[in-house]
Symmetry: C3
Subunit: 383 residues, 3 copies
């Protein structure tokens, strides 16, 4: 039906096959070809501030142990003992006493480089063949305070080459220095791709996000950027934020009252301040939303074909958090409400996918970024 | 063992393969070849009395939207938006404000013929390729106040040709004029076919249904009809209901006290009154049990290989419901008790199917109607 | 890595493939090739002391009915009616009134030899072809008060030939005369093989079982027998239980205070008394731990690939149970605590199996009995 449509700017596209949103085998393929090969955000580096600190992190069925070694370097390993496969660290976070990762079952212990360090009862007459039995390493990197792991391990390309130019987009924000001021998690009954598709378009904004559409007038028009408007040239001189983007008059940030919740970041350009919201997306696991006064980090964790866990962190400058005038509720409630609205429509989108006659949906021209995301998924699955 | 048995009237037959009662792939096959191809009862037409009223109805994994259009015609569609597959109507019933089916996600709206009517933000420069994007239709029909849908849609044969002569059997009951006076639903832990097999024989009646067997004396003999008795000719002159069927002396209906719960239907024959219970079966989803004073409708909904939801409606003349002397409890409790007894033995029958040595059961001569049902299942699966 | 290791006593071995501990198809294979072919412990014979008593017992998806017939013989059948597959006995235990196993659905009844005895409503003109329709028999045997069944039925080899010489090991214990004094059940979130692997080595004892390692000093050294020590010859004259096995000084049994909870068994040898604990293992379903004063029986029931139910019975002489000085808590709490500790590490071992890089673990020389168990599993699956 829409095959012959070629008008570039006004083209509609086929969406992904409907069964990709609920089929268990497809879900497993996506875990293996995307989640187990890409750099996955696991948390802020300051969650393990001191040597010997660790966190554990789940990606699909995998559990990764992320730790800071004696010299301060971050390392990551599969959380599995080489002896008989026991889980090593059981708490979500903690401290590796004595600089050893010790299995609670038979006491095998590993140093923080993952090497087998001690076998209780076997230290002297140790049998042959144990020397290579270190923990299985997982590639890990820190980028401006964010820690990422990659289960492809030595086959993983570097984080920077994998992420590409997008890493420049928040260059003026002091990301490494920010602190977590609030966190939230939510189980959403949808496939992980539906969450990302919702993220990548604003056609739903007028009906779904009334408060956000009032704060960001261009969203009320269902578009994300001035150039999304086919008639943009007619409004190229407009100073109305409904046409040139940015926040409504008298608002500077995504907060309940539109005001900043603390001092603005010093290094931002005038344009960055005027717009008031900037995104950095690192598929498949996270995006960063940066405002003039704070930064929000959203992380995804697929749980099953039709279930996704969504974790949100609000990052602030220390000075903001320490200020007696700081009002946490004003800072976090606005975005939390937007996410509640998004979760509801993501669940709605999930519920209709199984109709026998429905093989796939369509994407409107304004959903070009959803199409780009879907092309990325297709490409990831192809190799 | 029973292959050589040929005596027509006294023959025993093999039952269906045991794994057909619990195997997930077989269950899926039955959904696809039976439930998604046959006319399925969804409810009474007066559940959507006015234009713009709707109900949603689940068949296996499918959700069908059934509505009454502006001209009073009943229509049905898959409850899935053509844009990106969202569920459209979320409540089990409601009203389509403005005569539009509107998706809560991006606001696509369809008229009550299922045609794409309005795209918010796109009404003027609408991209090409959207014209065919109406809702996926589902075949629907009304028969004497009962609404049926068929997911085979345009491939479905007509309801009347599909149902055949059985539709004549309750010709004397004013089915279209009756009103729902009571409803009940119950989750039974059995395969849907076990429910139907139980329905199709009365060998279990003496032990399982003592009150019913007292009300219907022939049931106490484990048979359903006088002709089921191999010695029927010896009793062909008997006026004893244990031999000629019908209710016990001094009872006229299936109620707690055996008395009618309101005026009898005017058009019944003397024989219909004497018998006191008449069935109309429309596989796979429903049967109607008609008495002289009320009608009972039972609807099945398969939930999983070993779970079936059973819904019951009691239909009465308006005059009965409006009568100050009407006692609902007397009218509904009798059949509710019979169904509770049936549910218990259906669950028992389910529990023994997995025994390694048990490949299938046997059907007694009196279970000829179970055999007919099983032959119907085999035939449905074969094409 | 460990392929070249050949030194006999100090060899390390590969463990089973990691996916055998969670894969659903492998679990099904193990049910079919091990649990449905081996003799499975179902309980003590005195659980059905009188003719007509029965118990039902689950093995994987199978339910076996074990009963005592009129002459006192124990018999077992699939708990499934030959008519249409209903479950027959619904309670975990009970009494077969009238010496009949009667189906609650249509009343088919079987005598205690499993033969079809009576069809209600069909006793005189019974249709042909029903004569062979007895209950499906399951092989059953009693050995010294313990009842075992075998779903391979007539293909099963005898219990004695299947069990072999191990049956001699507790010859001096009056097993048949003991009575159940306490029972306990626990759901452990691990594959059934992980439970057995834990049972077959004591390398974990020092860290996991501090009280047990104090009671049995050789366990504190991580080994089970004096010969497990590569330097055993240096200690062959030692009377220290850390080298020659047995209980710590001044202890005689596995109880909280180390003292016997009643009179010692009369027939034990001095060596049997000195050691104080003796095992008899009957894979895959049970082991017996025998002490000088009581006996403990542990039974496994696989529930899913990652779930196992563990039942424990404490058996005592009647005189002990009847003694006013008997302290149940002292007798049972010690072993219950050991089992709680084992359950925790079994669950830990389960949790690490899915790591992508982990294909299997390694077995230390001291884990020779785990290796033997794994070789047994491999052999069972091979035929």
């Amino acid at each position: 039906m829409y095959e012959g449509v070629t008008s570039h700017a006004r083209r509609i596209e086929r969406s992904l096959p409907a069964e990709w949103y609920f089929d268990a085998a497809q879900y497993q393929r996506e875990l293996e070809r995307i989640w187990y090969r890409r750099w996955i955000y696991v948390g802020r580096a300051d969650a393990i501030p001191e040597p010997l600190d660790y966190v554990t992190h789940r990606i699909g069925t995998q559990v990764v142990l992320v730790l800071r070694d004696e010299r301060g370097a971050i390392r990551a390993f599969h959380n599995t003992c080489r002896h008989r496969g026991s889980a090593l660290c059981r708490a979500p976070s903690g401290r590796l006493a004595g600089g050893r990762i010790t299995c609670a079952y038979h006491g095998w212990s590993y140093n923080l480089r993952g090497e087998l360090a001690r076998l209780p009862l076997h230290d002297r007459p140790r049998p042959d063949g144990l020397d290579g039995l270190g923990l299985y390493p997982v590639a890990v990197t820190e980028w401006r305070g964010f820690v990422f792991v990659n289960l492809a391990s030595e086959k993983a390309s570097t984080f920077e080459s994998s992420a590409g130019d997008v890493l420049e987009s928040l260059a003026h924000w002091p990301l490494a220095e920010l602190q977590v001021g609030h966190t939230h998690s939510r189980t959403v009954q949808c496939n992980w791709k539906i969450f990302w598709e919702n993220y990548h378009e604003c056609l739903h904004c007028p009906a779904v996000h009334p408060a956000l559409s009032a704060l960001v007038p261009i969203y009320k028009r269902g578009i994300m950027e001035p150039g999304d408007d086919p008639d943009w040239i007619d409004h190229s001189d407009s100073v109305d934020p409904a046409y040139r983007g940015g926040l409504r008059a008298n608002a500077v940030s995504w907060t309940m009252n539109g005001q900043a919740c603390g001092a603005s970041f010093a290094g931002l350009t005038a344009e960055e301040r005027r717009i008031g919201y900037h995104y950095l997306t690192l598929l498949p696991s996270m995006y960063i939303a940066a405002h003039v006064d704070y930064v929000r980090v959203v992380r995804l964790q697929p749980v099953s074909p039709e279930t996704t866990e969504v974790f949100t962190q609000w990052l602030f400058p220390a000075a903001t958090l320490n200020s007696p005038e700081f009002e946490l509720e004003n800072a976090v409630r606005f975005a939390a409400q937007v996410m509640t609205e998004d979760a509801a429509v993501c669940e709605l989108a999930q519920q209709g996918q199984r109709a026998l006659s429905y093989s796939c949906g369509v994407l409107m021209p304004e959903e070009y970024a959803v199409h780009d995301f879907q092309q990325w998924v297709r490409a990831e699955l192809a190799h």
